[in-house]
């Protein structure tokens, strides 16, 4: 029944689109197979830039965000300035649209004409993504840290572990494992936002497809780019599912064994 209803639903949808008055125009300007084949190789090679930005940014985000989250979880009045700094940071960079952060850094910092400061668009674009996504990811980490029951730290401290040691060996391993799905969710977002660096003149996949579109007034290259982003996102999504499933299996097995 599910199969039948799905097929009928899709058939109605396709008929609706194909019989719409503008379909011929849309077909010509969006689904041009020859255009697709011609544009794909260049877009694919430009997509390498997206993957590079993404991989480099991800490493820095994971580290920087963890530092922020730990700063924000520090107890006691002595650490108030650091906590406040972490809070202000998260508020600021979650609040400003990513596109503006990249514009301001990418064109603003090089305009200062400081010697020794890089002017590379790629550099400042990546820095922009790291700053914004670290704010998001630090909140994810913090949620993980706070989800670990206080008795865990109390137990660790009573065994003679220092505060740092209990954070390192007891709290963080549990916290990070719990937040892997939302972390990967943020990384899917990051993968897509690498396209924003195009604003600074970097020719990545989206910009390459824009170039092709403008040269031919045919939108098919956009579909090719969309396809590439989807293709790289799906494995990550399935990997997340698998991690979650494995974790559930393990905790159930542990409960049964216990």
């Amino acid at each position: 029944m599910a199969v039948v209803s799905t097929i009928v639903f899709l058939a109605v949808l396709v008929l609706l689109v194909v019989n719409s008055p503008g379909w011929e125009d849309v077909k010509r300007q969006f689904f041009d197979w020859a255009e697709f084949r011609e544009a794909l190789p260049e877009i694919l090679s430009a997509f390498g830039t997206n993957v590079r930005i993404f991989c480099i940014a991800e490493v820095f985000i994971l580290v920087f965000a963890l530092v922020l989250a730990v700063l924000r979880s520090l107890p006691g009045p002595v650490f108030f300035p650091l906590r406040a700094l972490a809070i202000v940071y998260a508020d600021l960079f979650r609040g400003i649209p990513t596109i503006l952060v990249i514009y301001i850094l990418g064109f603003g910092v090089p305009a200062l004409q400081l010697s020794g400061v890089p002017t590379s668009e790629l550099f400042w674009g990546t820095v922009g993504l790291v700053l914004v996504y670290s704010a998001y990811v630090s909140e994810v980490y913090r949620a993980g840290i706070e989800s670990v029951h206080p008795s865990q730290e109390a137990a660790a401290r009573s065994l003679g572990l220092s505060r740092t040691q209990s954070l390192r060996y007891v709290i963080l391993p549990q916290a990070v494992r719990r937040v892997i799905p939302p972390l990967l969710n943020d990384f899917i977002g990051l993968q897509k936002d690498t396209a924003l660096i195009a604003l600074l003149g970097v020719v990545e996949a989206f910009r390459q497809s824009q170039i092709d579109v403008a040269a031919t007034f045919n939108y098919t290259p956009y579909l090719a780019t969309a396809l590439l982003f989807v293709l790289i996102t799906i494995p990550l999504a399935r990997f997340t599912d698998w991690l979650v499933a494995r974790d559930r299996r393990r905790s159930q097995a542990a409960r049964l064994a216990g």
Partner: protein, 291 residues
């Protein structure tokens, strides 16, 4: 005497006819088959012309008008080359100045499928055969050359040929034939940087993020005169293959293009286009040619 009287009355009649005709100037120069009320228009009785906002010189002029949404220049002033061409086309088709309405259309939406909100779009769009598959172009209203702008005193300013430019980092606005020119004819060793707007490319040039930008020659004169201190036109390039030309952009298959082409043909034949170019683009000639 009688004969003289007849002659005078004939002369008077002729004068009256001429006066009548000049009062309704469109009747005297009307293009056959292109009467205003027979044209297929987006809104009846009005010629709706699209261009991008802000409207840059030397294509548009006259500055900003208080209370108008147009930035840098208001196309409705009739000043600047493209504005002047649009009003002249409108006049030849029998529209009064007040019957031409301007709409702001970003370049990227000018060629999207579906109904357009303009009769034609004028924004330095170069004709290419691939583009012509998706929109209809008018005949040329300007034959254009590309040019490269650098900063005085920098190494790029001494380039004397396309080969000299190959080692530099060049920037360009997306969607321009300037980009095609770089990739196909200059073939630099590093990929050109491609920006959303010419302004962004100019900013990158000023920041030293790139060595030079490639734009059409009249824009190059505007950039060096208004936007970049110490900016210099390194040189212009001649078109490779067929001469590059700007055309007005119409919805694919719009029959209005035929009438506009007739108007443009007349404007070329009677020297009007040349005159408008001298008036608005005169400074934009005479840059060194880079072979």
């Amino acid at each position: 005497m009688r004969r003289a009287f007849i002659a005078i009355s004939l002369l008077a009649a002729a004068l009256a006819v001429t006066a009548g005709a000049s009062g309704k100037s469109s009747a005297a120069v009307a293009i056959p088959g292109c009467a205003t009320d027979s044209l297929k228009l987006v809104s009846a009785g009005t010629l709706t012309v699209g261009t991008d906002n802000p409207a840059y010189g030397p294509w548009f002029g006259g500055g900003e008008i208080k209370g108008s949404k147009w930035k840098i220049n208001d196309p409705a002033t009739g000043k600047g080359y493209e504005s002047a061409v649009a009003y002249e086309v409108a006049k030849r088709l029998g529209f009064a100045k007040s019957e031409l309405k301007w709409v702001a259309v970003p370049f990227n939406t000018s060629f999207r499928p579906g109904k357009k909100n303009f009769d034609f779009f004028v924004n330095q769009v170069s004709y290419t055969p691939q583009r012509a598959k998706n929109v209809t172009f008018s005949a040329s209203y300007y034959n254009v050359n590309q040019a490269v702008v650098g900063v005085k005193g920098k190494p790029i300013a001494t380039a004397r040929s396309k080969a000299d430019l190959r080692g530099y980092e060049l920037g360009v606005q997306i969607g321009t034939t300037s980009y095609d020119y770089i990739v196909k004819n200059i073939k630099p060793t590093s990929k050109p940087a491609v920006y959303d707007t010419n302004n962004d490319a100019v900013t990158a040039l000023k920041n030293g993020q790139i060595d030079g930008i490639v734009v059409d020659l009249p824009t190059a004169f505007y950039v060096t005169a208004v936007q970049v201190e110490n900016g210099t036109i390194v040189g212009q390039f001649l078109s490779v293959g067929s001469q590059e030309r700007f055309g007005l952009v119409f919805q694919k298959g719009n029959s209005l293009a035929g009438c506009v082409n007739k108007a443009l043909t007349r404007m070329r034949a009677d020297g009007t286009l040349k005159r408008l170019q001298t008036q608005w683009l005169s400074k934009a000639t005479g840059a060194r040619v880079l072979q």
